[in-house]
C-alpha cells in the first residue's frame, strides 16, 4: 500500500483533471451529472490523499520520491517527479477536504447560474492543478502547475464574463501575478544553470540536497529571491497584492477555494518547499533572503489589516484579511518557523474557506447584496450561518483554546519573538493581531447584530446543501486545534519530523496570555466602537462608520486601499501607457517609413528590370524567333514534295563526292 501510493501519486491530481474533461465533454444542460462528476472526482482524490497521508505516518520524516525522464536532448535529460512527504500529504488532505466542502456548497450556490457545468469544469481543473502543485518534485513541474492554477484563477475570476468589472479583475489578476512569475521563471533558469537539476530530491543529487546546494553557493540568495517574486505575486504580498481583493469579482465559492484557502497559499507553500535555498548559509537562522521575506510579510500583514478595517464589501474585508494572514505566514517562514507557517496555512485554509462560504451564504440569503452596511440582524434569520461564521471569526482572530487559528498564531508569535535581527516585526505583528480581531468584530456586528437594514429584510437561511459544508468546516476548524496545542503539538512534530510527546504543563505559557489579551482587546475595542453601528432602525443603511466620523481623512485613506491602485495607475501603468504610445508612434512613423522606403527601392528596381525585360530581352527573343521563322520559310521552298527532285539531288551529291574522290586520289 505504501509503495503503491508513492508510485501512483499522480492519480491524485489526475482525478479532478479527468472530471474536468468529462464535464466539458457533456452537454451544458446536464447539470446534475456535471456536479456529480466534479464531486466524485474530488471524493476519489480525497480518498487517495488520505491513503497518502496515512502512509506518511509510518516513519518520522517520511519522504518518498518517484522521478521519471520527461525528455532527452543531447546528453541532457530533463527529469520530473512527484514527492510524498509530510508537507505534501498535509496539503493534499487540506486541499481535498476544503475543496470537497466547497464543491458541495457550490452545487447550492450556483444552482441558478446558466453556466453551471462550465463552473464545475473549471473548479475541477483548478483542483487538479493545485494537487499537482503540492506533490511536484521538480521546480519546473511546480512552475507548470503554478501557471495552470493561475489560468484556472483567471478563468474563474472572470467567470461572469458579461460583467466588465469581472473581466477587468481577471486580467488584473493574471497580469499582476505574471510579473511575479517572470521572476520565478528567471529563478528556475538560474537554478538549472547552477545546480544542473530542477528535481528537489533525487537520492542526494537534487537541488535541495547537500550536493546541489553546495553547487549553488552565493547565488542561492538571488535564486531564492527570484522564486520569492513568484510567491509574492501568487500569495498577494506587497507590492503585488492589488489583484487579490479585485479577484472577489468571481463567484464566492471561487473566492473561498482559490483566493482564500488554497491557491494564494501556494506562494507560502513554495517558500516552504524550497526553504533550503532560502536558509543556505544561515547565521543563527538569518539570511538576507529570509530577511526580505520577513519585511515583505510584515508590511503586507499590517497594511492589509489596516485596509480591512475600512472596507464595506463583505468579501473584500475577507480578501484583505487573507492578504494579511498570508503576510503573517511569510513572516513565520522568514523567521525560521516553517512548521508554524505551514500549520497556520492549513488552519487558515479551513477557517478562511469557512468564512468565505459563510459570506457566500449571507450574500445568497440577502439576494446578492455584498455591502455590510445594508445588512444587520442576520443572526435571527440565518442561525446556522451565524454560528459557523462566529467559529470562523474566532479562529481568524486567533482566540486561543478551541479554535485552530489561535494556536497557530501563537506559534508564529513565538517564532517571531526570538528573531535575532530585530524585534520590530514582532511588535508590528502584535498590532496586526489586534487589528484582525477588530475588523472581524466590526464585520460580525454589521452583518449579524443590530436591526435588519435594506438588504436583510427578506433574508432567509440557505438550503441544507450549503449549510452542511459550513458545519463540516466549522467542526474541522475546531477539531484541528486538537493536534495543534502546545501540550500535544502533533502536527508540528509531523511536519518537522521530531518526536511528539504529551505535556499538559506546556499548555500554559506567557505567549498564551499575550495572545488572549490582544484578541480580547481587539474584540472589546471592536464592540465598543461599533456598539451603535448596527442599531439604527428604520431599514436605513449605516452610512457613516464610527471611525469615519472620528477620523474622516484616515478612514478615506484606508477605504481607498491606501491609494495604491491609484499610485500604480500614476506610475507603472501610465509609464507602460506612455511606452505603448511611444512604440505605437515609432511603429506608425519610423518603422513604417523605413518599410515604405525599402518598398519604394524595390519598386524602382522593379520598374528598371521591367524595362530591361521588355526592351532588351523580349526584343532579342523576338528577333531570334523572327529570324528562325524566315530561315524556315526559305528552307521549306527546297522541299518541293517531288521525289524525283530529291533523287536527282542525291545523284548529283553522289557524283560530286565521286569527283572529289577522284580529284583527291
Amino acid at each position: 500500500m505504501n509503495s503503491w501510493i508513492v508510485t501512483h501519486l499522480w492519480l491524485v491530481p489526475a482525478e479532478p483533471f479527468a472530471a474536468s474533461l468529462a464535464i466539458l465533454s457533456v452537454s451544458n444542460t446536464r447539470r446534475k451529472s456535471a456536479a456529480a462528476l466534479a464531486v466524485a472526482g474530488q471524493i476519489i482524490a480525497l480518498a487517495l490523499s488520505v491513503v497518502a497521508f496515512v502512509s506518511t505516518l509510518q516513519t518520522h520524516g517520511f519522504r518518498a520520491v518517484q522521478n521519471f525522464t520527461w525528455f532527452t536532448f543531447g546528453d541532457q535529460t530533463l527529469r520530473l517527479g512527484f514527492v510524498l512527504d509530510p508537507l505534501a500529504a498535509a496539503m493534499l488532505v487540506m486541499i481535498t477536504v476544503v475543496g470537497l466542502c466547497i464543491f458541495v456548497f457550490s452545487v447550492g450556490y450556483m444552482a441558478e447560474d446558466k453556466n453551471f457545468t462550465r463552473f464545475f469544469a473549471y473548479l475541477s481543473f483548478f483542483s487538479g492543478a493545485m494537487l499537482g502543485l503540492v506533490i511536484a518534485n521538480s521546480l519546473l513541474l511546480v512552475f507548470i502547475f503554478w501557471e495552470l492554477v493561475g489560468l484556472a484563477s483567471y478563468l474563474l475570476i472572470g467567470f461572469w464574463i458579461e460583467r466588465p468589472s469581472a473581466a477587468a479583475a481577471a486580467k488584473k489578476a493574471f497580469i499582476t501575478t505574471r510579473i511575479g512569475d517572470m521572476g520565478f521563471f528567471l529563478g528556475v533558469l538560474w537554478l538549472y544553470d547552477r545546480a544542473g537539476t530542477l528535481l528537489f530530491y533525487d537520492n542526494g543529487r537534487g537541488c535541495l540536497e547537500g550536493a546541489g546546494l553546495a553547487m549553488l553557493g552565493a547565488s542561492a540568495t538571488f535564486v531564492a529571491l527570484l522564486i520569492f517574486c513568484g510567491a509574492v505575486g501568487k500569495s498577494g504580498q506587497f507590492p503585488l497584492h492589488v489583484w487579490l481583493p479585485d479577484a472577489m469579482e468571481g463567484p464566492t465559492p471561487v473566492s473561498a477555494l482559490i483566493h482564500a484557502a488554497t491557491m494564494v497559499a501556494a506562494g507560502v507553500f513554495l517558500v516552504a518547499r524550497v526553504y533550503p535555498l532560502f536558509s543556505l548559509g544561515a547565521i543563527s537562522g538569518v539570511t538576507s533572503s529570509l530577511t526580505v521575506v520577513v519585511w515583505i510579510g510584515v508590511t503586507t500583514a499590517l497594511m492589509a489589516a489596516l485596509i480591512a478595517i475600512a472596507q464595506a464589501d463583505i468579501k473584500r474585508i475577507l480578501a484583505y484579511s487573507t492578504v494579511s494572514q498570508l503576510g503573517l505566514m511569510m513572516v513565520s517562514l522568514g523567521v525560521g518557523g516553517v512548521a508554524a507557517g505551514i500549520m497556520h496555512l492549513l488552519a487558515h485554509g479551513f477557517f478562511k474557506a469557512l468564512l468565505f462560504l459563510g459570506a457566500g451564504s449571507v450574500i445568497h440569503g440577502c439576494h446578492g447584496e455584498q455591502d455590510i452596511r445594508k445588512m444587520g440582524g442576520l443572526r435571527r434569520f440565518m442561525p446556522v450561518t451565524f454560528m459557523t461564521y462566529a467559529v470562523g471569526m474566532m479562529a481568524l482572530s486567533g482566540m486561543p483554546f478551541f479554535f485552530c487559528g489561535g494556536w497557530t498564531k501563537e506559534e508564529i508569535l513565538h517564532a517571531t519573538a526570538h528573531w535575532p535581527p530585530s524585534h520590530v516585526p514582532y511588535y508590528l505583528i502584535l498590532v496586526g493581531v489586534v487589528l484582525t480581531a477588530l475588523y472581524m468584530t466590526r464585520q460580525i456586528i454589521y452583518v449579524f447584530f443590530g436591526n435588519p437594514r435594506v438588504a436583510a429584510e427578506r433574508a432567509h437561511e440557505s438550503p441544507r446543501i450549503m449549510t452542511m459544508p459550513l458545519i463540516v468546516l466549522a467542526f474541522g476548524a475546531i477539531l484541528l486545534s486538537a493536534v495543534l496545542t502546545p501540550a500535544w503539538p502533533w502536527l508540528h512534530g509531523y511536519l518537522t519530523g521530531e518526536p511528539t510527546y504529551f505535556d499538559v504543563a506546556r499548555l500554559i505559557q506567557p505567549m498564551l496570555f499575550v495572545s488572549l489579551a490582544l484578541v480580547s482587546a481587539g474584540v472589546g475595542v471592536g464592540f465598543w466602537i461599533y456598539r451603535k453601528a448596527g442599531t439604527q432602525d428604520g431599514g436605513r443603511p449605516a452610512e457613516v462608520d464610527p471611525l469615519e466620523y472620528a477620523q474622516p481623512a484616515l478612514f478615506r485613506f484606508l477605504a481607498n486601499k491606501m491609494w495604491i491602485d491609484e499610485l500604480y495607475a500614476r506610475t507603472v501603468i501610465s509609464f507602460s501607457w506612455m511606452a505603448a504610445r511611444l512604440s505605437d508612434w515609432m511603429d506608425r512613423y519610423f518603422w513604417d517609413g523605413l518599410v515604405r522606403g525599402f518598398g519604394a527601392i524595390g519598386q524602382l528596381f522593379g520598374i528598371f528590370t521591367t524595362s530591361v525585360d521588355e526592351r532588351g530581352i523580349n526584343a532579342g527573343v523576338d528577333e531570334t524567333t523572327a529570324g528562325a521563322r524566315g530561315l524556315g520559310r526559305v528552307m521549306s521552298t527546297a522541299h518541293s514534295g517531288q521525289i524525283q527532285t530529291y533523287l536527282g539531288a542525291i545523284a548529283i551529291g553522289m557524283l560530286a563526292l565521286l569527283l572529289l574522290y577522284a580529284w583527291l586520289a
Binding site: S636, H639, S640, G641, Q642, I643, Q644, L647, G648, A651
Partner: protein, 104 residues
C-alpha cells in the same frame, strides 16, 4: 576480244546510268521502280565481276551477295508495287509530279 574487268564495269556503269535516267525522268511510278531495279542489277553485276577478276580460288562471295541482293530486290519490288497500288487507290493517279503532299 577477251572479256576484261573494264568491259564489265563499263556495261555496269551504263546499266546504272540508264536506270538512274529512268528513275529521274519517267513520270509513272512503276517505271521509276523499274529504273531502281536496273540500278540494283548494275550493282549485282559489279559484285560478280570483282569476284570473278579478283584473286583465284576464293569462296564465291560475290555470287552469294548478288543472290541475297536479288532476293531483297524482289521483296523491295513487292513493297514498292503495293505502295503504288495504295497510292493509286487514294489519289487515282500514279503520276509522281502530282504526288507532292510532302511539299514544304
Amino acid at each position: 576480244m577477251t572479256p576484261t574487268l573494264q568491259i564489265f564495269l563499263i556495261v555496269s556503269a551504263a546499266l546504272f546510268s540508264t536506270g538512274l535516267l529512268a528513275a529521274l525522268s519517267r513520270r509513272h511510278a512503276i517505271f521509276i521502280l523499274i529504273g531502281i531495279e536496273m540500278m540494283l542489277a548494275a550493282a549485282n553485276l559489279n559484285f560478280i565481276a570483282f569476284w570473278r577478276f579478283g584473286p583465284p580460288h576464293q569462296p564465291p562471295t560475290g555470287v552469294m551477295i548478288a543472290l541475297f541482293s536479288i532476293a531483297i530486290a524482289a521483296a523491295e519490288a513487292a513493297v514498292g508495287l503495293a505502295m503504288v497500288i495504295a497510292v493509286y487507290r487514294h489519289y487515282h493517279t500514279t503520276n509522281v509530279d502530282q504526288l507532292d503532299q510532302l511539299r514544304g
